[in-house]
Symmetry: C2
Subunit: 233 residues, 2 copies
């Protein structure tokens, strides 16, 4: 990504020559948003391939939580900062029109869509009022360009189940994105047992959810088969 003139060529090579079934990007590129002009061709290329882009958060302690301090303490930058990063990246993609320009884009967000499902009230009726808290530019024009409610564009993202064993969050996330837009992930091996725990707990939760067997299969398997164009065995 930091050699932007080669992004599209390399994505084509990875997919066409090496068999990649998607690409992963971080939520920022050396501090720049993914929506910067030099990165937009990647979104066009992936829409053309009809293969997914995984978005993984990336920030460190240098994002301070208080303006009088120079770094984030107690790994807050990780616990809350990473889902914030994901959410900010999703917002930029929405408000800068990438999902309008490429409606077939399939973007898979980590950690069950960051903050979006839990704050669907802020994303929904909150952002329907975009501009009401800003006086130095006309954000109402941004809303008009989208031609739909922002929340409807946020529902176009995909999300994975890596919420580290939280049943309530899994239910909340599936409720927001729908079973067609959620894929299994565990974040193994970053659990206290260094591997098995998050896999085991995530499976336990999904097995016990009140879902139809069809929806459960979508989350475990069928959505991935469809998105990644896998051979269904």
């Amino acid at each position: 990504m930091n050699a932007s003139e080669g992004i599209v060529t390399e994505a084509h090579r990875a997919i066409n020559d090496l068999g990649a079934c998607g690409v992963q990007v971080f939520t920022n590129v050396n501090g720049q948003p993914l929506t910067a002009p030099e990165f937009r061709p990647l979104f066009g290329a992936m829409a053309e391939h009809d293969l997914p882009i995984w978005v993984h958060p990336a920030r460190g302690a240098s994002f301070t939580d208080y303006l009088t301090e120079t770094s984030s303490k107690y790994e807050i930058w990780w616990t809350f900062g990473w889902p914030y990063e994901t959410s900010a990246a999703m917002a930029r993609i929405v408000f800068e029109g990438l999902l309008n320009d490429y409606p077939s884009l399939k973007i898979i967000t980590h950690h069950m869509g960051g903050m979006v499902p839990y704050f669907e009230g802020r994303v929904g009726p909150g952002w329907d009022q975009l501009g009401s808290r800003t006086s130095d530019e006309n954000l109402g024009a941004v809303l008009e360009r989208l031609k739909t409610r922002p929340i409807d564009l946020f529902r176009m993202f995909y999300a994975d189940t890596a919420v580290f064993g939280s049943r309530a969050a899994t239910i909340c996330g599936i409720s927001f994105f729908g079973a067609d837009h959620v894929v299994f992930a565990s974040d193994s091996p970053f659990d206290p047992e260094k591997g098995p725990m998050y896999i085991r707990e995530t499976i336990k939760i999904i097995d016990e959810l009140e879902l139809s067997e069809t929806d459960r299969d979508k989350i475990y398997r069928a959505n991935a088969v469809r998105l990644l164009k896998l051979k269904d065995r």
Copy 2:
């Protein structure tokens, strides 16, 4: 708060002379965390009064989302930044031992506890591993001082129901804090109808939740009566 030598005197006056049933603070004081030494006496005073502290988020567009930019765009600082602020303030209060020093503290967090309930997996098993992502200081010592899992301290906070009409978030938040630690709030009048919508939608959700009548009454009324030491009519 920005005349810290008067904080405790003013809290006493507001409560003893004027009948205040608690105090509200913002998540930062001119950019400083609430846990700075000059603000800690307020927490001691409120623990002594056994009355709540409301914590309201406060940040503006000056908190940038990307290190190459100077401000947050599209009001991301509000939609996601405010719950992030609340979450960071809660983390500082936990990790700097305020709930250990004053276990009777009653802190009511806005917007259903910020990001904490949805990310209980990160707050739980994630933060049980505090220090594993930091090499330049010994954060393991912080965990030892707490004498309990961080997530158990996060459950000591109270939260309000101001999630702008999200049923799934309401369920997720009550699941995390428990019905004894959730109080009714709507965020009126900051909805698209300028008042009635968030009140109406929040009541509709709570009325329809699968809760015992006792728990529903706690959220609507009894918790507030207890916390604020109101006369129960």
